[in-house]
């Protein structure tokens, strides 16, 4: 997994709540057997019309936001299906961070397992970002993972965010859970010997 430390970038604001993983990547694009290439179909049905022409009013088709590495979305981002393809699609498109005031649980785990940082901020802070970017589409944020804070550049507005400390170590060092769990083989075998339930079944 790629290491993550700090990031300074413009943002792509998507002020919609309850964005589900079927919108992020519709089921009909889940037929691949590899992890690559899902970015092409990120937000497919919001991004393209039925003739596969880009919809002009959708933000990913607005060149003004091109190159941004931070997606900022409304509350309850990533709800619905457990498809990790949603995290892959966002990452593959070029985003490194998703900011929202609330994330669905499975999406959050999937993002963390792919070096895509989900940053949960307060509703007020989120509203502030949406408000400021309206008058300045080149608004930048600095995401500082070590200090667990987001800064709105040029406005001296900073907010701290929470993160599971184990996951933070993984992100900073580029480790994944499997490396860690494989190192625990002895403990797992010990559990299997002593588990009451495994012996009943």
């Amino acid at each position: 997994m790629e290491k993550f430390i700090t990031l300074k970038s413009t943002i792509t604001p998507l002020a919609i709540e309850d964005i589900d993983t079927d919108q992020i990547i519709p089921a009909r694009f889940l037929k691949a057997t590899t992890r690559e290439g899902f970015g092409d179909n990120l937000f497919r049905d919001w991004r393209y019309d039925e003739n596969n022409q880009p919809k002009k009013d959708f933000i990913l088709n607005n060149d003004g936001y091109k190159g941004s590495k931070i997606l900022v979305a409304g509350k309850n981002f990533g709800c619905g299906s457990s498809r990790e393809h949603a995290a892959w699609a966002i990452h593959d498109f070029g985003f490194k961070v998703v900011i929202s005031s609330f994330f669905a649980d499975i999406f959050k785990s999937n993002a963390l397992n792919n070096g895509l940082l989900p940053v949960q901020v307060s509703q007020d802070f989120l509203n502030k970002i949406f408000e400021l970017v309206k008058s300045n589409i080149k608004l930048e944020l600095i995401i500082d993972l070590e200090n667990q804070q987001v800064e709105i550049v040029g406005h001296s507005i900073i907010e701290k965010f929470d993160l599971n400390q184990y996951k933070k170590t993984c992100l900073i060092n580029g480790y994944d859970d499997i490396d860690y769990l494989l190192s625990m083989k002895g403990k797992i075998e010990e559990y299997e010997k002593t588990s009451k339930y495994l012996h009943i079944l």
């Binding site: 309850d18 079927d22 709800c79 669905a104």
Partner: protein, 467 residues
């Protein structure tokens, strides 16, 4: 302090606690299917390792499969490749596969329980969010992503932060035409599509206790639709009677020993939940959704809410949903013409669902404007339905019983709802485009779906005589 059902099962499975808030959780059963497993198998190959255990994993093909002519090769090339990849991986890694043509094939969350693979007190995971279904047995069951599928394949364990606990208690007697699907749609409409995020839910109370196992599965299945990681119901005599004698369930003295343990799986009287909700069963009516997430549900005879009744931060999403659905705020849904009906999915495709639908349809005819998909959850359900002559009743009413799979719930196969069309569906998600690009889904119970199919429009099931 007493323990909740969730804590009892969770604690039993903790292999180690990791500084920083995560637990290493042992997984008793890992279910896989063709869509979320291929990249995990590739991951194992890249690491040069095999499966930790071939005993605790089971595969089936369900998401992509056609629901007609399953004996023929799958027509759609990418779907066929994905299903073939599953067979290839299962062979290579030594995983038992109930693939197309196997008498046990079916939707992963239907076959686990019906084969006695799902048991009380277990930890069960699958790369599918509706894994919460298995919680109906008092197991901890939840959906995971593909990286986590790989974790479980490699180590039989999962790194997980312990969720908070929530109890939802429903007491009283259900009214006419109200089923377990209506209970869960009602709950989600009350606490919203995000109200359960961060929690594991226990459903309790007399209204839940009175339900059959299949009805309980419908409720736990949709726990994820309120954001909860999973839902569970304490096992009782209904559970033990359901499990007894099933293909892979423990037998004889082993079964008695298991039941003695399962009887300890309940929330202690003095257990403390992080959140508790109480509802009265008498307030629950047949439900239907009007919007684009499962929290946007109403009693079927109510009006779509007005914009002014919606929380301010959610108004943009609400307006976007109504625009997509083609509905107007403050107006009724009753009487709207509906041309598509889907009865199926891991939520409502079990034998009791088909029995209920067939009993209602007996002597009635499908409305001429309606196209209907009735899709059993598994080969076992299909076989049972035929043995009971349900397929004939359906045929006389103008319906065709399809072959098992996820079908139009997510439209990965050719069963899709056309753009702009309304579909009253017994599935679990009404997201934009879920049943096909531009499709408009209204979630409801199997009984309501059957009534819509004969009426050709949205109707209140309570207007019909029911036995």
């Amino acid at each position: 302090m007493g323990k909740t059902l969730f804590e009892k099962v969770w604690n039993e499975h903790v292999v180690a606690e990791i500084p920083g808030g995560s637990n290493v959780l042992y997984i008793d059963k890992h279910l896989i299917h063709e869509v979320t497993s291929p990249q995990a198998f590739t991951g194992l190959e890249n690491r040069g390792i095999g499966l930790y255990s071939t005993e605790r994993i089971l595969a089936t093909a369900d998401h992509n499969v056609p629901t007609k002519d399953q004996h023929l090769p799958i027509k759609e090339a990418l779907s066929r490749l994905q299903v073939e990849k599953l067979s290839e991986n299962c062979k290579k890694f030594g995983v038992t596969l109930y693939g197309l043509g196997h008498p046990y094939q079916g939707i992963v969350h239907v076959i686990g329980p019906e084969l006695g693979i799902t048991l009380p007190g277990m930890t069960i995971v699958c790369g599918d969010s509706h894994t919460s279904t298995h919680g109906a047995f008092g197991s901890i069951a939840f959906g995971i992503g593909t990286s986590e599928v790989e974790q479980v394949m490699a180590t039989q364990c999962l790194m997980q932060a312990k969720p908070k606990t929530m109890k939802i208690e429903i007491n009283g007697t259900l009214g006419k035409g109200v089923s377990s699907k209506d209970i869960i749609l009602y709950i989600i409409s009350k606490i919203s599509a995000a109200g359960g995020t961060g929690y594991f839910v226990e459903f309790a109370g007399s209204a839940i206790r009175s339900l059959s196992m299949e009805a309980r599965m419908t409720i736990c299945n949709m726990s994820i639709e309120m954001g909860a990681r999973g839902g569970m119901i304490a096992p009782d005599e209904t559970t033990f009677n359901y499990v007894k004698g099933r293909e892979f369930a423990p037998k004889g003295a082993k079964f008695d020993e298991a039941v003695a343990y399962w009887k300890t799986l309940y929330s202690d009287n003095n257990a403390v939940f992080d959140q508790v909700y109480h509802y009265d069963a008498a307030d629950i009516a047949p439900m239907i959704t009007y919007g684009t997430n499962p929290g946007m549900g109403i009693k079927i005879n109510s009006n779509v809410p007005k914009l002014s009744e919606i929380e301010e931060s959610n108004r943009a999403t609400f307006s976007k949903a109504l625009e997509y659905m083609g509905f107007t705020e403050g107006t009724p849904l009753l009487g709207k013409q509906v041309n598509y009906v889907f009865i199926g999915s891991c939520t409502n495709s079990r034998i009791e669902d088909l029995r209920q639908v067939a009993q209602f349809l007996k002597g009635k005819k499908k409305a001429s404007n309606v196209n209907a998909y009735i899709v059993p959850g598994s080969k076992q359900v299909e076989k049972q339905a035929m043995a009971e002559g349900l397929d004939k009743i359906l045929a006389e009413a103008g319906f065709e019983l399809r072959e098992p799979g996820c079908s139009a719930c997510l439209g990965m196969n050719e069963d899709k709802i056309p753009k702009g069309e309304y579909c009253v569906s017994t599935s679990n998600r009404n997201f934009e485009g879920r049943q096909g690009p531009g499709a408009r889904t209204l979630l409801a119970s199997p009984l309501t779906a059957a009534a819509v199919a004969v009426s050709g429009k949205i109707v209140d099931i309570r207007e019909f005589s029911l036995n």
